[in-house]
Structures are given as structure tokens and as C-alpha cells.
Amino acid sequence: MMKRNVAIIGCGQTKHGRLRDVNTSEMIAEAAWKAMEDANVTPDEVDAIVVGNMQGFGGIYDTELWAGELFGAPKPFLRITTGGTTGGSVAHGGYYSVASGLYDVVLAVAFEKHSDSKERGASTGLAHVAMANIFHTMQHGASIKWLVSLATGAATGVSAFQASCYMYRSGCGVKHLDMVAAKSRRNAAKNEYAHLRWPNCTPEDIAKTEWISYPLRFGHVCPASDGASAVVYAEEEIAKKKAERPAWIKGVAAYADEPNLMGENSQGTAITDLSEQLQCIISAREAYQRAGIKNPRKEIDMAEIYQPFPHQELMFSERVDLFDDGKAWIALEEGQTEIDGSMPLDPSGGVISTNAIGSSAMQRVLECALQVMGKAGKHQVPKDVKNAVAHGWGGATNFTTITVLGDSPRR
């Protein structure tokens, strides 16, 4: 069966940070309008809209029911939400909407407004992922000391444990986490939409920040941001008319594994090494196969990895087969993953610098599209970008979205 070629023809995002001069619907509309203007389409040319965010953070259920008319109603809306990968799942929803042949032009917008939650950072939503499990465990007499140790030790949730798993598996040290965090902050300084921007930040700057809980420091971790990001998809003929260099979607995949750390109501779950990330390995293979990419390390020119915590840039760049298992820190030390390196990772500054959770995985796809289209401005990588891979993780590090973009449609 001949698959329909689909491309991103327009990208739009708000500045990410603490956005208190807009309400949620205006924030979403701003990104949606910027994407439509970038794609030079009017709302009437848009056939359907895919939208998503992590509902518990903003306190609004199905925000598009209130916000929808600001950028398109009456029109078909589809809400897709999958935790941290929401932005990537919304991006896949937009792709599938056009690839299915049901629609020709589709707008996909993802967002989050953490500052609308009274609790500091993103704790409302994050703690709430496992709230039922915690209630259940406390009801069965778990000790207060255990609860306190979780709240202090694993405040950052699954990722805190995962960092130690990965450091054992790869042999990398805390200094490599400092290096990744510093690189992200420097790259973010070249990205006007990023939340935390620190020109010429060094690993030593990061090393001076307080520990949250070993091995993660405050300097390592992502902020809780407000922000929205959107892309416009089009089928092949329209894409060629609307954009001189569309970003073609060559392959998508989003596999799920057993939840890490715990199951429903804290039942056992058979994942012992949280850094294995089998679903990311499978998603990458499937997406490369659909994209017709045989050797990712040669054919992929850059990647946007979803890395709210620095060990994840190293870990997931290995799981998407850009480096050997456990060896990404060598490429980091050799500067391969710098913005001007042979395999730039997260030239946008990544999730360490900007994390509006619903929007983050969409930003990875959007940033790769900008790089392929040559429209990334100050943080455009110097090398020619023919193929790029956008990654997202979510859930209890058991969801992964992979999107492979390129400068030519699949034949």
C-alpha cells in the first residue's frame, strides 16, 4: 500500500517561562497562530486540530472546549495526552490525521501552564501520577520515614533512581551530568524561546549548585515552565506549494513498556534496570525502519532528546542508536554532541532548560523541523541537516515517542 507522504510546513511556539500576562487559552492560541502564519495557511484551510496537555497540572479539563474557538471552531478536535510524551503523541496524532487520508492540513498544538498550579514547580501533577499508589501504600502501614525518604530522596520521581542505574551501567560520573547541563544552558542562550538561558555556562558553574539528592543537583534539573508549541502538517502536494523546504515526517513510533518502579496500586513490575528503556530501543528501530534509515549513526545529522535530567541525554541518545550502549559520555567528552559537533544533541537547550511538560515533546519535533528547514536561527547547527530524530519519554519512563524527520519525502 503506498503510504501518504506528510510534512511539517509551519512551526510556532510561545516564549517559555513564567507567563502570567496571558491566560491558558490565549497562550495556546498564540502558538497555534504562529504555526499557521509560518505555514501561510488560514484557519479555514486547516481541516482538523489535534491538541494535548497533562490535564492535572493546569487544573482545567479539556481546555480546548473553552479555548478552541480562538484558533478554530467549529472544527474536528482530537485530544491526545500521554504524560511526558504528550507533545510527541500530539505530533504523532497530527501526522496520522494527514497520513490517514481523512484530512489534508492538520494543526497540532501542545501546551502546559505550570505557574497556574499553586504548588511549587510541577509537584501537583508529578506527585499525582502515583497519588493513588501512595494513598494505598500508606493505608497499609508504610512508615512515615519511608514517605519522607521518598519525598526528599526521590522528589524527582523515577528519574532520580534511573540516574544511579544509568551511571552504574555506563560508568559515567556526576561530572558528565554537569557537562550535559552546562551544554544545555549554553545552547538555550541561543534560543529566544527557552526558559533558563546561561551564556557560556561551565560544568563548574553547575557543580556549585546544591544537591537535590545524589546524583542530581539543582543545576542539573529542568524548570517548570509555561508554554505552548504547535506545528502544521500538510499532505505532499500542499506541502510543496506552501513551504520551500518542508520537514518531511519519515517515520514515527511510540512503544510502551511495563511501568518502571511500580504497577497499578504499587503492585510489582518486572523492570529492574530503569536505564534499559527497551521501549525506546524498539520505537527507534521501528521509526528508522519506516523512515528507510539503515544506519542511524551515519544518516541522522542531529537529535533533540527529551532530557529533563542530564543522564537522560546520554542514555536516550544510546537507546536511539546514535552511540553504543554506555558510551555516550565519550562522545560528550570529545565534543561530538556540541552544537557544532558531528552529532549535535539538543541545540535548542533541551528540556533541562525549558520544560512545559505538555509542550516539551512537541518542541523536540518542532526543533528538529526547524533544523531540517534551516529556520532555527541562532541555534541552527552549522552542518547540513538531512535527517533528524526527535525523542520524547513519559509515564514512569515507560513511554517513548520517536519522530524521524528529513528534507526529502520517502519514495
Partner: protein, 155 residues
Amino acid sequence: MEKREITQVSGMPIVAGFQWSVGKMMERFIKSFAERKILAAKCPKCGYTYVPPRLRCGKCYTKIEEENLVELSGKGTLIGYTTAYVQLDGKGNFLDLDKPKMVGAIKLEDSDSTIFMPLGEVDPKDVKEGIKVEAVWRKETKGEIADIVYFKPAR
């Protein structure tokens, strides 16, 4: 289907609180309540007039700026209503009201949106679609949504 015994898991008294920034347009709208003024956003292109005001027209997608704000009279027409005999308590339970409350769908003069407001100083028997209503303000308005206490039939 094998039945597996279940236990009820009761939550701990945790309430997630929210503080939604309303944005520039809504801030002007709410603050103008202090002077007992109701502002609406009139789309410069198609004229559709939104209350509360907004930054983009949903009918013709034109941008709406602060200079497109117009002041409404505070009078309107009742286009729909219901009498409430229960009220949600925020925890998911419907509590019986000792005295029924009226809720009205009101189209303010010179605006196209419908706003949903409590009705007061009225006997449910006399309420009919089409009657004229007007806003009743708190004695001491402070620029808050609660400044409008209810709408009552206009004299």
C-alpha cells in the same frame, strides 16, 4: 468471570490549588467592575461582540485589541434560565438547596455572547424568556467578579 476481592482506598485530605492568570484583557474587564462597568470586545472586522472580552474573534479570526473594548449598559435580555434545587459541593456531591436558586442565560445589550448569572429579587413564576434584566452590583465594588451579585428583572 472470577471475582477478586477488592479493598476501598480512601485518599488523604489533599487539595490541589490553582491560580489562573487571567491575562491583560480579562484583567481590564474584571477591574472595570469597580466602576460598575461591563466591557465587551467588539471585533473590528465582523462586529461580533464578546463578553467577557478576548484577543481573537472566533468567527472571522481577526485580532482584537484593547481599543476595540466597548462599554455595555449592564442591561440585557433573559434568553434562558433554570431553577436550581441542588448545588455541587466541590467534592462531587449534590446538596439539596433549602431555597431554590435561579440561574439565567443573559444576552447583554449590544453583545453577542451569552453569560450565565444568578437571578435575584424574582419569583420563579414571573421568570419568562425575553424579559429585560439588569445587573445588581455589590454596595462596595472592588474590581472582582463577585461585584455582580445577581441580575434582576429591569424596571
